[in-house]
Symmetry: C2
């Protein structure tokens, strides 16, 4: 049951203060919940919109303990959080951590994650642990090439993932991912889908299935609903519900899926936190993923996941050759476009392909000529908006 609300409100301590922490802060304010974030970067993205930032590494024991002592609930917005430390601090201070550190531990290791999914009967692409080049070559014999070699831990936004084209490259590819690795059979997918799910106290909920467009392994756009048959959307949601049932601890989960050429749904990866492919929910759904995460972690009932309008989210990535102070040009068109919403992450420097913000465009329903707008058009307009902004002064 929701405890009575007073001021200062319940405090949610968040390990990580990047854009996800910032958007958690933006969503928590109206609920009367205050945020403190722990992040090593002084004046991190979340900092200007939350109560306070503790400057420290994600695995700094004193800093995490201070965070717990100043909080009523703990969560994390980055998989680099340390599950052992969180578990220790939770036991010592009695401040609950959601999702559970054990879930974080399971998900951090992509091999353990996949094993857990398989044990629960959830479909995943074929995979195998590979400890050396001989094992990798043996797996390729079975899976064929190309295949995807993945570092078991620490990868994100494509880092730690390396496609392999030939058994001859086994040594070099294993070297490039560094550390314990696994290999996955190449999935000839029709679409990449994702479902944002949320697990509350005795309830689970899922948002509409989205379609993700990646390039260079980085998410570019999410289209919601995905341009797939209704039964595919529903099966994706059903698989996501199975994943949520399996997870231990409340919170939002981003569940990335493949829709195969045979319309089969396979789980690609799980993130135990709000996910880039769920940013569309801020404008596109009744209760956004960030508010849902805050509600879930603090023990409040979940909100409605109902979609309000067809929506496309497009990432604003660093379109520069090298790191430099960020200065985004060309925003007038974004501000002037009805139903376009800008989200700026507050990062000082732009780096090549760094996520700097995003633009959400919700459907107006009709074109200027009176005909109905479809998702392809909405996507094209979103891309035009995004292509109209640039960090590149040249």
């Amino acid at each position: 049951m929701t405890s009575p609300l007073s001021t200062p409100g319940p405090t949610l301590g968040v390990v990580g203060g990047g854009q996800l922490g910032r958007m958690l802060g933006e969503a928590a304010g109206p609920l009367g919940i205050e945020l403190i974030v722990l992040d090593p970067t002084p004046d991190c993205p979340a900092s200007p919109v939350v109560r306070d930032q503790i400057v420290g590494e994600f695995d700094d024991e004193d800093a995490v303990r201070e965070l717990a002592e100043r909080s009523d609930f703990l969560t994390f917005e980055i998989e680099l959080a340390d599950p052992d430390l969180l578990e220790r601090v939770e036991t010592e201070t009695g401040v609950p951590v959601h999702p559970s550190p054990d879930t974080l531990r399971t998900i951090q290791d992509k091999l353990v994650q996949k094993d857990a999914l398989v044990d629960a009967g959830i479909p995943v692409p074929e995979y195998r642990a590979v400890d050396d080049a001989a094992e990798l070559r043996a797996a390729l014999d079975e899976f064929g090439t190309p295949a995807m070699v993945k570092a078991r831990e620490g990868g994100y936004d494509g880092r730690g993932n390396a496609p392999i084209e030939s058994p001859n490259d086994a040594e070099s590819v294993l070297d490039s991912v560094a550390g314990p690795a696994m290999v996955e059979k190449f999935v000839d997918f029709e679409r990449e889908l994702s479902v944002i799910g949320v697990k509350g106290e005795g309830e689970i909920a899922t948002f509409t299935t989205g379609e993700n467009v990646h390039r260079e392994e980085i998410l570019r756009e999410t289209i919601v609903p995905a341009r797939a048959p209704e039964d595919v959307l529903e099966r994706a949601r059903s698989v996501a519900r199975d994943v949520l049932e399996l997870m231990d601890g409340r919170g939002v989960y981003g569940i990335e899926l493949f829709e195969t050429a045979e319309s089969e749904i396979l789980v690609n990866e799980i993130a135990p936190r709000p996910h880039n492919s769920g940013h569309w929910t801020i404008e596109g759904a009744v209760t956004c993923q960030f508010e849902q995460h805050v509600r879930a972690v603090t023990g409040r009932p979940l909100g409605s996941t109902e979609q309000r309008d067809p929506t496309v989210m497009t990432n604003i990535l660093g379109d520069v050759e090298e790191t430099q102070p960020a200065e985004l040009h060309g925003l007038d068109t974004v501000f002037s476009t009805p139903r376009a919403a800008l989200h700026w992450y507050g990062k000082r420097d732009v780096r090549p392909l760094r996520k700097m913000g995003h633009i959400t465009l919700t459907d107006q329903g009709v074109n200027a000529d009176g005909s109905a707008e479809d998702l392809d058009q909405l996507l094209a307009r979103s891309r035009d908006l995004r292509d109209g902004v640039t960090f590149d002064k040249a």
Copy 2:
């Protein structure tokens, strides 16, 4: 034109850090605009969600100057701001103030405000300045009773307003409002309406006309659209546009109107800032009044004012006999109701009838039995939600 966006972003200095400042802060974050608020209450409502608070009185010259020196733009969220001081600081520092201090000055004095409207041909209730009891009695001879005596300056939420029933009460009623006063003819209104308008750089826009329900002169609910014929809604919007044309300086204006028994539209009062009757726009419109104000004041193009769904906003007021630390009970139902949104203002103490938060309910379109939900039902459900929360521990 919108200047390039960098981090730290452009800073908006706000005189006042109450709930309006808080909601401005919540809306500014995604745009990459940072807020600093000036407010005499340490840890004021806006404080936990903005970059910084300067603790000082609204008319503290040093504090306002410091605010200007740390800001790129200045605005105010409370009419108690000092227009002379703002004008001086604007001239000295070159930091633009929006809306213009002169507009604030005009609006602060309800007599001057009414004179300006009449000069522009905008319909208002009959009114007259009254400097003493004899003048008040003379006006009542003409207007009849009841009538409304108003302090020309400083009133809000009904403070400074006093109904008068008989010429015999002229002395006592004038004493009760204190200071320069005016009297207005009683308007036999059908409905109280309001239109939230916004004036940008060379553009104006208005939101859907809302219907306000007051009790004890305090706003209880806003219903949008107002339950009035379409032509009344449009005429209210048209009058609001005339008001916006008259105002000097960019920003959001709350325009309260009477719809008379003869379907005439009269301007009651204008607020040169986001207004309680515009809180519904956060969930109910594409771009909310707070984002619009931030856009307008910082020189960005305005967003769409299109309404997304039928909406009712209901205020959570202090239901206590005396001031005490705020503790709001009964929130589970609010959180569990689809499309109900809570907004908590972060005030430490609750006082009788103090505005502590609000609940917005947007229409689901259909009742559980499949029939269409109408505004009366939406209003009834909103009132039930609000009546289910209480500060009263008894």
